[in-house]
């Protein structure tokens, strides 16, 4: 079974065009993913809404904006040329020429996966936010701004622009936590600002170091990330990027914000933070350390593996010892991030490919576990695991979705996390055996934590003293099913479904085929005998 999964996850060697691709194209496709949500957010923020009269309309606008965005991204995904190592959909306009800043956007395979992830998470977050009743207009405007900033950070191909969008993502998300969070939202908001601010500062200093080390003429990633730097500079930049990534993903010991944010933020915000915004951390490591600084990556690889092991282990143990279901989900959401980083630390083509797929699958899995637990706590009117018990018969939809989330975190077959974790571990056991073993051990503890969680709240004896319980609403079911469906689809068809009897893709070129574009180049310093 394992072998068949690996074979299924192997990229198709020859690209075949997808029927229906080419129905839409725009030279500003990536700009559209950034500026369309910004424009809608600006329009929403000035739209009159006396006494909440147009609350429903505002929610519909946010939903259809995301739907439109997902459509655009799906078209981009379909038209994406697999196996082409260069950036695609590039846009390049001089911005601040005097300091060498260019409005340079572009995506490769991993970037395309991140964009699709962001699109799915965006629509899920809007559906998860349909229950918002207070200050609806600013809520959805801020949500769209956060989404735009995340998209900007994904497609940025200039370090200056990356810093701008990376930093900009924290502001709307912090305001969303402050304004619409639970009783401890102030603590959560300040922690988010503190940790993400530290990460942004580290990224800014790292970007400036790269800029200075490459002659101070350009921030373009084609210049600063392709230059040959001294090992000392590479180490300095690598350490700064690890700090930036660790605050965002998060990695132990810079994970201090995730428990409070996931426990206190509104569900839609938790989904965005854990699903897309936090994945930027691993994406940054892939771009700026693994792909650009091979010497530093070789030296820092064991450190990354250790951080991954500590993150997975800590997340699993903390989840075992916590009795607040939303805090448990926060700790469990740390696990996919650790697995992703282990793949990066492996510094092998298979490990890197696994970690790229894990970016997508781990993002969906983390969002699913956080969303499912938060929805259960709302529907069961309690967050305490001492109160919640025997809920499966009374909330069957949520029970199934929580089980799917648990299986996704563990990486069981037919879910997208399975090929991702398999490739990661196959890649990592060769080059980082101790780290890989420790992560596997952490996953085993995580399995115990998940089993305990499921047994307690779903299959334990019903608690007669617990408050009333109801199953998920249509919107809640849809957003969780969307996340679970994404995991299932990629798990079953990692290479995309084909028209029977042919090699022609049906409508999906296949996630592993798309992500292959760019991975070969990223992994090129780590192939061959000299890399070992």
């Amino acid at each position: 079974m394992i072998l068949s999964a690996i074979l299924a996850a192997s990229p198709t060697p020859t690209p075949v065009s997808v029927p229906g691709s080419g129905i839409f194209s725009s030279p500003l496709l990536l700009s559209l993913t950034i500026w369309m949500p910004v424009a809608v957010a600006a329009a929403l923020s000035v739209m009159p809404n006396p006494r909440g009269r147009y609350d429903v309309l505002i929610k519909q606008i946010a939903f259809f904006t995301n739907l439109g965005l997902l459509f655009v991204l799906f078209v981009a995904y379909n038209q994406f040329q697999s196996f082409v190592p260069t950036m695609q959909y590039e846009e390049k306009v001089p911005w601040l020429a005097a300091v060498g800043v260019t409005y340079h956007l572009g995506v490769d395979g991993p970037g395309m996966l991140m964009l699709i992830l962001s699109g799915l998470i965006g629509i899920a977050s809007v559906l998860a936010s349909l229950g918002i009743r207070e200050r609806v207009r600013p809520y959805f405007a801020l949500l769209l701004l956060a989404q735009a900033a995340v998209n900007g950070a994904i497609v940025a191909h200039d370090m200056f622009i990356l810093v701008l969008f990376w930093g900009a993502a924290a502001i709307p998300l912090a305001l969303l936590v402050f304004g619409w969070g639970g009783p401890r939202s102030q603590v959560a908001g300040w922690r988010l600002i503190g940790y993400w601010g530290l990460g942004t500062a580290a990224l800014a200093v790292g970007a400036m170091t790269l800029y200075a080390a490459t002659g101070g003429t350009s921030f373009d990633m084609d210049v600063v990330l392709k230059a040959t730097l001294s090992p000392r500079i590479q180490m300095a930049v690598g350490l700064l990027m690890i700090v930036a990534a660790a605050t965002r993903l998060p990695l132990f010991p810079l994970h201090g914000w995730i428990r409070d944010v996931c426990a206190e933020a509104p569900i839609g915000v938790s989904v965005v933070v854990t699903g897309a915004a936090s994945r930027l951390g691993a994406f940054l490591l892939l771009r700026t350390l693994i792909a650009a600084e091979p010497v530093a990556a070789h030296i820092l690889g064991p450190l990354l593996a250790a951080l991954a092991a500590l993150t997975v282990g800590y997340g699993a143990v903390a989840a075992l010892r916590t009795v607040d279901i939303r805090q448990v989900s926060a700790y469990l959401a740390m696990i996919p991030g650790g697995v992703t980083v282990l793949g990066l630390a492996a510094l092998s083509p298979l490990g890197i490919a696994g970690s790229v797929l894990s970016l997508f699958a781990g993002g969906l899995a983390a969002a699913l576990i956080v969303g499912a637990c938060a929805t259960i706590s709302e529907r069961a009117q309690s967050r305490s695991l001492l109160v919640l018990s025997g809920l499966a018969p009374r909330m069957p939809n949520l029970a199934w979705l929580l089980i799917a989330a648990a299986l996704a975190i563990l990486g069981v077959p037919i879910l997208a996390t399975f090929p991702a974790e398999l490739m990661t571990f196959f890649g990592a056991f060769k080059t980082q055996p101790i780290g890989a073993f420790a992560v596997a051990l952490g996953l085993a503890v995580g399995a115990v934590a998940l089993a305990t969680l499921l047994r307690r709240i779903l299959f334990g004896p019903p608690n007669p003293d617990a408050p009333g319980v109801s199953d998920s609403s249509l919107g809640e079911t849809w957003y969780l099913a969307l996340l679970a469906g994404g995991l299932l689809w990629v798990g079953v068809f990692p290479g995309g479904p084909t028209i029977p009897g042919t090699a022609t893709p049906l409508f999906d070129p296949g996630m592993v085929n798309v992500m292959a574009a760019g991975i070969s180049e990223i992994a090129s310093p780590y192939t061959g005998p000299s890399a070992q």
Binding site: A168, V205, A212
Partner: protein, 470 residues
């Protein structure tokens, strides 16, 4: 065409003097008096347009006392835009006198314009003093006690500047800025040169209310009306920075004398400004400390001594002067502390947005004007190898962002005060067509400054080049 370059300056002075005379001799009816701010803002906008149109002509006036170059063009345009927006956004019901309130920002702007185009040390000093005097007048209208304090602190700053200028003149035998540089090219850094430079920089730091020199000047500035606070926090500080940039260019050959001092000043201002902004809750004080932190970034750009760094500082100066001058003006009375602006987003959306953007820009939040400027300065710091200063700047930046978000939370996420509990100190700004238009224009400028930054940055770079920097 050559003399047309002076038309913006003349327009501003004429408008200020006419406003003062009209107020003194009661030439205006009550309704005309109410239109005075709109008229003054229009004059400032026309002067701004003229400056951009005719200011590109390179020329010298009054025997070299005034020099029109790209540096002067950039600085004058930024100051005129800030003055126009501040007058337009101010809540004139909270100002103590409309004619004086209109005239003083224009006079302060004129003072800074003189300093920006100064060709010698006297013009530099005179321009800065004129701007500072306008600030003292604004304070004295509301708080004569604080005005006296401000006058004393200003006197000390002025004395330091004058002593520094005198020493510099005695050492170099010149008061012409270009000539001083030419003389210093052959000199080695010495104690005799270090004394005047340190005196000059200390005087300028006091004028700019730079942390830790804010002790005397800043509280006095904050005691003024909203527009008066804007002058103290924004225009006068910008004037001091402009003087520092020009002096820095002249003293470049002996930069070793003052670089460590500037680095320490910049570091303290960046971190101290951010920390102080986080520690206080009152929005006007927080805004002032955020501005002080951004002045630290401006000074950090000067530490590099390169065209890139000074160009980045100049680019940031444009963002700073607009946000710092207009921020207090758009904030309005708000003397009742943080509660005064609670829920402002729902009650006065345009003003709230302008205030939020001004705060975020001063904190350096991306992707607004201040962030572009601070990142450009950061790039210059990295390029010149000042990584410690860059790291401290990043620390100050985090603190500043946290502080600005705290105020944003109050504006947008807290419930407004009940009308019965809203005293005079927390009165809502009056809605007028001018102030609403001003607030919208301010939002546009802060957002567009970075997004359309290429020509502005190019002009700032040319400005730095005009100072003879490489």
């Amino acid at each position: 065409m050559r003399n047309a370059v002076l038309v913006p300056d003349a327009l501003i002075v004429a408008a200020a003097v006419l406003a003062l005379l009209a107020g003194r001799f009661s030439w205006l009816s009550a309704s005309s008096r109410r239109r005075l701010p709109a008229l003054a803002a229009a004059v400032a906008v026309v002067a701004f347009g003229l400056e951009l149109w005719v200011g590109a002509t390179l020329s010298t006036y009054f025997g070299g006392a005034l020099v029109q170059d790209r540096f002067a063009l950039f600085a004058k345009a930024a100051v005129l835009l800030a003055a126009a927006l501040a007058i337009a956004t101010a809540d004139w019901t909270t100002e103590d006198s409309i004619p004086i309130g209109v005239a003083m920002p224009l006079l302060a702007a004129f003072g800074v314009m003189v300093a920006a185009s100064a060709g010698d040390l006297v013009a530099l000093w005179a321009g800065l003093e004129l701007a500072a005097a306008a600030g003292v007048v604004m304070v004295s209208l509301r708080r004569p006690d604080l005005a006296l304090r401000s006058l004393l602190a200003g006197g000390l700053a002025s004395a330091l500047l004058l002593m520094g200028i005198a020493y510099l003149y005695a050492t170099t035998g010149n008061q012409d800025i270009a000539a001083i540089r030419a003389v210093l090219l052959g000199s080695a850094p010495s104690v005799a040169l270090a004394i005047p430079v340190v005196l000059l920089l200390s005087g300028l730091a006091m004028r700019a209310s730079l942390v830790p020199f804010q002790v005397a000047g800043l509280p006095a500035g904050l005691g003024a009306s909203p527009l008066g606070s804007g002058l103290a926090v924004g225009l006068i500080a910008a004037g001091a920075v402009i003087v520092a940039i020009k002096l820095g260019a002249a003293l470049l050959p002996i930069s070793a004398v003052y670089s460590p001092y500037l680095e320490v000043l910049a570091a303290i201002a960046m971190v101290g400004g951010g920390a102080a902004a986080l520690a206080v809750r009152a929005p006007r004080t927080r805004l002032a400390y955020l501005a002080a932190g951004q002045v630290g970034w401006l000074v950090a750009g000067l530490v590099t001594h390169y065209r890139t760094g000074v160009g980045a500082s100049l680019f940031l100066l444009g963002a700073f002067v607009v946000a710092a001058t207009c921020g207090p003006a758009v904030l309005g009375r708000a003397e009742g502390g943080e509660a005064a602006i609670a829920g402002l987003g729902a009650l006065r959306p345009a003003r709230a947005a302008a205030l939020a953007l001004a705060m975020l820009s001063l904190a350096g939040a991306p992707p607004l004007a201040g962030a572009f400027g601070e990142l450009a300065v950061a790039a210059a710091l990295a390029q010149s190898g000042h990584f410690a200063l860059l790291a401290l700047g990043a620390l100050g930046w985090i603190l500043g962002i946290a502080a600005a978000l705290g105020t944003l939370r109050t504006i947008y996420l807290q419930s407004p005060l009940e009308e019965g509990r809203r005293g005079a100190s927390a009165a809502l700004p009056l809605l007028t067509r001018l102030s609403s238009m001003g607030a919208v224009a301010l939002c546009f400028v802060i957002v567009a400054y970075g997004l359309l930054g290429n020509p502005i940055m190019g002009l700032a770079d040319q400005g730095a080049q005009a100072l003879g920097l490489r």
